[in-house]
């Protein structure tokens, strides 16, 4: 749903499939040279997943990639995510325009 919505907003969306490991996600992000990583986490494992991904990005020296996501994430966890450098995470039912607006505003990559 979000992928389709972003496409319709003019983004090139690389859909990597369900149940990806953090390693696969980060590797795909590197090879595709993306501006944004968007994670959909409904399993409750968001903290582990985001932590691993942020750690891997750092280890691989990937800079400036906006990491965001969606799912059911309690407020106290959001605080933690923010500390790790994760951007906004969106709850269920967030209007797509909000996500698009947020991404447009927060992509800050200088390619050259």
């Amino acid at each position: 749903m979000v992928a389709r919505g972003l496409r319709d907003a003019g983004f090139e969306v690389i859909y990597s499939g369900l149940r990806q490991t953090p390693e696969q996600i980060v590797e795909a992000a590197i090879q595709e040279d993306v501006d944004v990583i968007g994670l959909s986490v409904l399993s409750g494992a968001h903290l582990t997943l985001f932590e691993k991904i942020m750690g891997l990005l750092k280890k691989k020296k990937v800079k400036d990639v906006l990491v965001t996501g969606g799912g059911i994430i309690p407020n106290e966890d959001k605080e933690m995510l923010r500390k790790w450098g994760v951007g906004e995470v969106f709850g269920p039912g967030t209007p797509l325009e909000d996500i698009v607006k947020y991404i447009r505003k927060n992509v800050r990559r200088d390619l050259t």
Binding site: L6, E12, Y15, A28, I30, Q31
Partner: protein
């Protein structure tokens, strides 16, 4: 960060990926680096996979790539998907079928939206292939958009072109007519577990009818596969190797290299003249005014273009 030439030549994935982005965006700095890298290209074997949507191209690419990995080859993959002509957005989903290769050191996968370019590839697919080549990939696999018609562009970009079909496409003969008979060096009948014999027979007959051949010309083999189980993939690799040997032996490889150069230069020439033309003072306005005249039937398109260029 502009990647360094050395980093790309060393196969540094972040450098390769960034250069691809720059080239795709026609960034002058990226294009400069591409010029320098060009002399390091021409070593990789380039394989195309084309065919209608839903025939299992991505899964097949994945299996073929896996097979080449087992032989110790480094594999680059470029997968092209359509860009929406209305929004400029694209949903690039070929990677889903290949994610198991994502973390393999010897594999690099890149998705591309065609961004309004027709012919089954993206405008800069040739350049992305060059980057993978320069970065030391032994094999580069190009997966086209799945329209199944007139994807002739891929022929001029790859050494070996595989056309993928499936049984039960309704009027099979119709599929075969659509210009894909001529572009296949190898025909793959995928999902062969669903009864491929009829398609193979018809295809064989059509091929014999459609293509005029010299005695020593390459006869496209037809390979039955079931990509999901991996059945037939070894035979497909053998057929690919066979074709590779054939074009090397017959001098076709040189010709192919010239064809690819012509494809890339054709494109650039068109772009350069178009850009130069539109840059002329007031041209955009004149162009639009002429289009309105054509729409009102005050003039016709050919006359209008002659006046603009005259």
């Amino acid at each position: 960060m502009i990647p360094t030439q050395q980093a790309v030549l060393d196969g540094d994935k972040m450098a390769m990926a960034r250069l691809m982005t720059l080239v795709e965006n026609d960034d002058p700095k990226g294009l400069d680096l591409l010029r320098k890298l060009f002399k390091h290209t021409g070593k990789a074997r380039i394989i195309g996979i084309t065919g209608p949507p839903g025939v299992g191209k991505s899964t097949l690419v994945f299996k073929v790539a896996q097979a080449f990995r087992k032989m110790g080859k480094k594999v680059g993959i470029v997968a092209v998907d359509p860009t929406s002509p209305f929004t400029g957005g694209a949903l690039l989903g070929d990677r889903v079928r290949m994610q198991d290769l994502s973390t393999d050191e010897g594999v690099f996968i890149r998705s591309m939206g065609n961004r309004g370019y027709f012919g089954g590839l993206a405008r800069r697919t040739g350049e992305v292939v060059d980057i993978l080549d320069a970065a030391g990939m032994d094999i580069v696999i190009v997966e086209t958009i799945g329209t199944g018609q007139a994807e002739v562009d891929v022929v001029r970009t790859v050494h070996t072109c595989c056309v993928v079909l499936v049984p039960g496409f309704g009027d099979e003969v119709q599929t075969f007519k659509a210009g894909i008979l001529e572009i296949g060096d190898i025909f793959v009948v995928n999902k062969a577990d669903k009864g491929a014999d009829k398609v193979v027979m018809e295809l064989r007959a059509m091929l014999d009818l459609a293509v005029d051949r010299d005695k020593d010309a390459w006869v496209p083999p037809i390979v039955k596969t079931a990509a999901t189980t991996g059945e037939g993939v070894d035979e497909l690799i053998k057929a690919m190797d066979g074709h590779c040997g054939h074009i090397k032996g017959s001098g076709r490889l040189r010709l192919k290299a010239v064809e690819k150069a012509m494809r890339d230069m054709d494109l650039l020439l068109g772009e350069k003249f178009m850009a130069g033309f539109m840059k002329k003072k007031g041209m955009r306005e004149r162009f639009e005014a002429a289009a309105k005249k054509v729409a009102n039937r005050k003039t016709d398109p050919r006359t209008a273009v002659e006046r603009l260029t005259g």
